[in-house]
């Protein structure tokens, strides 16, 4: 001790100094060992999961194909029509005022406004508007003139012309293409007229209101060669494409059951929309609204809440099941089911509606050895998700995608035994904008992915799928090479027939079948 103190004072390093100075080094070695062990375990899991799987991910937004400015006429400028206009870059100035006001205190709206302003200009001009309700038409005109996306008092361009009938709008030489956002019973008559006049058509879903008109529109679109897109913007959802490529690579094994649902629980979701105070028999062209529907005396409820009556609507099957069907048709190429069986009723919204607010449908695909189950209620928001169930794993889909392993899987049997994968835990996840499908290894990732929380993982600015869907249609028109968009008339035909099979089954209380040869519902 005396010697050591002497050493310290003299500045010499003693053996004791060396021991006390370096004694912690082995600890670093132990931690290094721990880190390498952790790393090799993670690498093993990653490589054994991803080595033979190559998910396809479409990156980025397809560039606009150049062409002359496309002149668009819009039939129906109510709720959905207004949304489609926004997706094309046109909103009423008072909406911009509203976004600006909200953005002052709310970051969500600040981002929303910035995203809308950043949305690419599609090189189109809204030249014509048609709506049977004056207020909708006036709002459509104001939105169409708002080329520069300004608020009230900002610079506006030429206003689109209002036509009182769709026939006149379609006949106008100022219209190259028509966007249809009317009640269901008007989709086909307007689309037919447009196609026959050689105008391209973007039509809201579902394709048709009656079975007979479904054949006619398919024939006419094909004969005329116009560019047709049905408004299922889910076609642009990245995770659906990733799901398709994973399933193609047999990641989830043989699929026997698919479960999809609709769960809403508010008046708006149940189609009980507000009735505009300006609406009356003078401001609404009631006769034109009725069209091919059975005659009914003027009714504000029927006009604004038309989705609640079979007279104008296709109910849950046509309105909401079709979103699910089209997503699955895109992913699995399902086509029209062999049979459909539906049941349900008006159990919650006893407001005079004729369409059910609860609907369950089982659609059989014996050729594919699988059942598609759809279950909907407008009176509970417990979302049961979109699940594709395979023998080896199940795939949960929304904007994100999660693959969970089945404990009895054959494909993953060894990995389950080795503890590389855990039953009912996610093994793959994909979130929009991520650019890669990740093998999930860390507990944190499992936790977040398992709850679909990675939804907020969007790089850069959010892009509206409806914008992308319209853009695809416009690109096909500009390409002018006969190419049709993703939700073309054949896909639309399958969508409509599947929905009609469900509706007939519900209405008639029997199982319906699709005769593949004759292409008829029996």
């Amino acid at each position: 001790m005396a010697q050591e103190n002497k050493d310290n004072k003299s500045g010499k390093i003693s053996r004791r100094d060396i021991i006390a100075g370096l004694a912690a080094l082995p600890i670093v070695g132990v931690i290094g060992y721990g880190l390498l062990k952790n790393k090799s375990e993670a690498d093993k899991r990653n490589s054994s999961l991803l080595s033979d799987i190559k998910p396809e991910i479409q990156g980025g937004i397809p560039p606009l194909i150049e062409g002359k400015t496309l002149r668009i006429g819009i039939v129906g400028t109510g709720g959905r029509g207004g949304y489609l206009m926004k997706a094309m870059g046109f909103v009423h100035p008072d909406r911009i005022d509203e976004y600006t006001e909200n953005a002052k205190t709310d970051k969500f709206w600040e981002q929303h406004l910035a995203d809308f302003r950043a949305q690419e200009n599609l090189n189109i001009k809204i030249t014509a508007i048609c709506d049977v309700f004056d207020k909708n038409a006036e709002r459509g005109i104001a939105a169409g003139a708002n080329v520069h996306r300004n608020g009230t008092g900002g610079k506006m361009d030429d206003s689109p012309k209002r036509y009182t009938t769709y026939n006149e709008l379609i006949a106008s030489p100022d219209v190259d293409a028509v966007v249809i956002a009317t009640p269901d019973h008007w989709h086909v008559p307007i689309a037919l007229e447009a196609a026959r006049k050689g105008k391209h058509v973007y039509c809201e879903k579902p394709l048709s209101w009656s079975i007979a008109e479904t054949y006619e529109i398919r024939n006419v679109v094909k004969e005329t060669g116009i560019v047709f897109q049905l408004g299922h913007q889910g076609r642009q959802t990245e995770s659906y494409n990733v799901a398709k490529s994973l399933i193609k690579q047999d990641v989830i094994g043989k699929i026997s059951l698919i479960e999809v649902c609709t769960n809403r629980n508010d008046p708006n979701g149940a189609w009980v929309y507000d009735i505009a105070p300006e609406a009356n028999e003078q401001t609404i062209d009631w006769k034109q609204f009725i069209g091919q529907a059975p005659w009914h005396d003027f009714s504000l409820e029927r006009f604004f809440r038309w989705r609640c009556w079979w007279d104008y609507s296709t109910g849950l099957s046509g309105d909401l099941f079709t979103h699910e069907f089209d997503a699955l048709n895109q992913i699995l190429d399902l086509g029209i089911p062999h049979s459909a069986m539906a049941s349900g009723g008006i159990y919650f919204f006893k407001d005079g509606r004729t369409v059910p607010d609860v609907l369950n449908m089982a659609m059989e695909y014996p050729d594919r050895d699988l059942t598609l189950l759809y279950s909907a209620t407008l009176a509970s928001e417990k979302n049961r998700g979109k699940v594709i169930m395979g023998h080896d794993a199940y795939l949960e889909l929304s904007d994100t995608l999660i693959v969970n392993v089945d404990p009895r899987s054959t494909r993953y049997k060894e990995k389950l035994e080795q503890g590389i994968v855990e039953p009912f835990k996610p093994i793959f996840s994909y979130v929009p904008g991520q650019g890669a499908v990740d093998a999930i290894t860390s507990p944190t990732e499992k936790y977040f992915a398992g709850r679909g929380l990675l939804y907020t993982y969007r790089d850069g600015k959010a892009v509206d799928t409806t914008h992308l869907h319209l853009r695809e249609w416009i690109n096909c028109i500009n390409a002018g090479n006969g190419a049709q968009p993703s939700c073309n008339i054949d896909q639309a035909f399958q969508e409509a027939m599947a929905a009609h099979m469900g509706t007939i089954s519900y209405k008639e209380g029997r199982r319906t079948y699709w005769d593949k040869e004759k292409e008829v519902i029996v």
């Binding site: 370096l22 670093v28 929380l453 993982y457 850069g460």
Partner: protein, 166 residues
């Protein structure tokens, strides 16, 4: 003033306890940092998005900006590892102590244990204002206030006992 700290006489047990605390905190930091450095896909994005409390917007804005996120991820991972290494080896522990306190304060502020705030990421216990992050933060303050690297650590070999950096 610093000389007062290092000439402070501890009993063997006091020194042992302080060194043990320093090394275990260092261990925790180095391993956390190392795991993040070795995982090329690691990012604090989901953690930041799950932030709560009065600084939530600040942390969310980091998560939503790719450049800021990359910088913050790298600073976080390397910061943790270097602080950990420094505490274990007993070199520059005053600086690493402060850096560690700042880092822990940021973690705490992104997920403060205030009543009424719920996080998606599950908590491993029940906390009211004080949680383990805060305890570790104050433990680092103890390490900062009672330096030991001149007793047990590389600093002892440098003999520059007057340096504030020890």
């Amino acid at each position: 003033m610093y000389a007062n700290y290092i000439t402070m006489k501890h009993t063997n047990l006091q020194s042992f306890a302080l060194v043990l605390l320093r090394i275990t905190i260092g261990w925790h930091f180095l391993y956390e940092g190392g795991v993040k450095i070795l995982n090329p896909h690691w990012t604090a994005k989901s953690y930041l998005l799950d932030s709560g409390g009065f600084m939530k917007d600040f942390f969310v804005s980091i998560a939503e900006n790719q450049t800021l996120l990359s910088v913050s991820d790298a600073a976080n991972a390397w910061g943790l590892a270097l602080i950990g290494l420094s505490l274990i080896l007993g070199l520059f522990t005053r600086i690493s102590g402060i850096a560690g306190i700042v880092l822990l304060l940021l973690y705490y502020l992104s997920h403060p244990a205030f009543p009424g705030i719920e996080y998606l990421f599950p908590s491993d216990g029940s906390y009211f204002i004080v949680n383990k992050t805060l305890v570790e933060l104050f433990a680092l303050l103890v390490i900062f206030a009672f330096p030991t690297s001149h007793i047990f650590g590389l600093q002892r070999l440098l003999k520059s006992k007057k340096s504030f950096l020890s």
